[in-house]
């Protein structure tokens, strides 16, 4: 059989295959509760979060300016992390004319499914300059294990 380049005569069938593969991957990942699932599940609930990982840990950050750290309530139940808190309006503003009022006050609550198993008892949360950082050590089974290659 003649060798044909991608995207020439067979461009369209290849593209079709690619599309099918993406579809399958998404479906499987949603079933497994993978990262794509996490991303697509974002429904616009305050606060938006960023999630990153290294070999040992998951890191979750959220920008919560003006939120009283005392009001922050974090909990983990199996692989669901819940963040709750209150942003209070500025106190003692009476007899003032507002020129701008863009900052919102109120309460918030967000639950999210983590993409992998973590060790909840070793989780740490830090609130610094209005940014919350949650460090979640991965569970042993969720970590990648290095396999040493023996040279004989």
């Amino acid at each position: 059989m003649a060798i044909l380049r991608w995207g020439q005569r067979f461009g369209r069938p290849v593209w079709e295959l690619e599309r099918m593969r993406n579809y399958m991957e998404n479906a499987l990942s949603a079933l497994a509760g993978g990262v794509d699932h996490f991303r697509k599940n974002y429904t616009g609930v305050f606060p938006p979060v960023n999630l990153s990982e290294d070999e040992e840990k998951l890191y979750l950050t959220a920008e919560l300016p003006g939120v009283d750290p005392q009001s922050l309530d974090l909990s983990i139940k199996s692989d669901t992390l819940t963040i709750k808190g209150v942003k209070k309006p500025e106190a003692g503003v009476v007899e003032a004319t507002f020129h701008r009022r863009e900052r919102e006050a109120g309460s918030f609550r967000r639950s999210m499914t983590l993409p992998l198993k973590v060790q909840p008892d070793l989780a740490e949360a830090l609130f610094k300059n209005g940014v919350l950082t949650v460090t979640l050590p991965k569970a042993a089974e969720a970590r990648a294990h290095q396999i040493a290659v023996k040279n004989q």
Binding site: V45, N50, E95, A96, G130
Partner: protein
């Protein structure tokens, strides 16, 4: 309505509009959300600038143009991103002030990522001080 019953709506951070000019670093910059109110004594400006420390903050009043700039201390979180729902970048915003502000009495404080600026009005009878600095 009490603060506890009202839920916060999510809003995307506003990228800074530089009127067509690009930042040289290519990193995103944002326009912070502010509250500004006025009393007989002066103006108060409160700005949400998460991640900005006191060291990274600069407030400048020049010819009634107030400029606030906040540098984010830690723009990157450790590891590889799995999901990114918001971007991190410095904050910048300018305001043209119509009131005469006593420049010497401006006070700035930053706590939990919120900048509070107190801008007292100048006493009307007081002549405007002009400081000439020789270089």
């Amino acid at each position: 309505m009490s603060a506890d019953s009202q839920e916060i709506n999510v809003r995307e951070k506003k990228p800074l509009d530089l009127g067509g000019a690009e930042s040289t670093s290519g990193e995103p910059r944002f326009s912070p959300d502010v509250d500004i109110w006025e009393t007989d004594a002066g103006l108060t400006l409160v700005a949400d600038m998460p991640g900005v420390t006191a060291d990274g903050l600069s407030v400048d009043l020049h010819e009634n143009m107030l400029t606030i700039f906040g540098r984010v201390g830690e723009p990157k979180q450790p590891g590889k991103y799995l999901a990114q729902e918001y971007e991190v970048g410095d904050f910048y915003r300018q305001f043209a002030l119509s009131e005469q502000i006593d420049q010497d009495k401006i006070a700035a404080a930053v706590k939990d990522g919120v900048l509070t600026l107190t801008l007292p009005k100048q006493a009307p009878a007081q002549p405007r001080k002009i400081t000439v600095v020789s270089e």
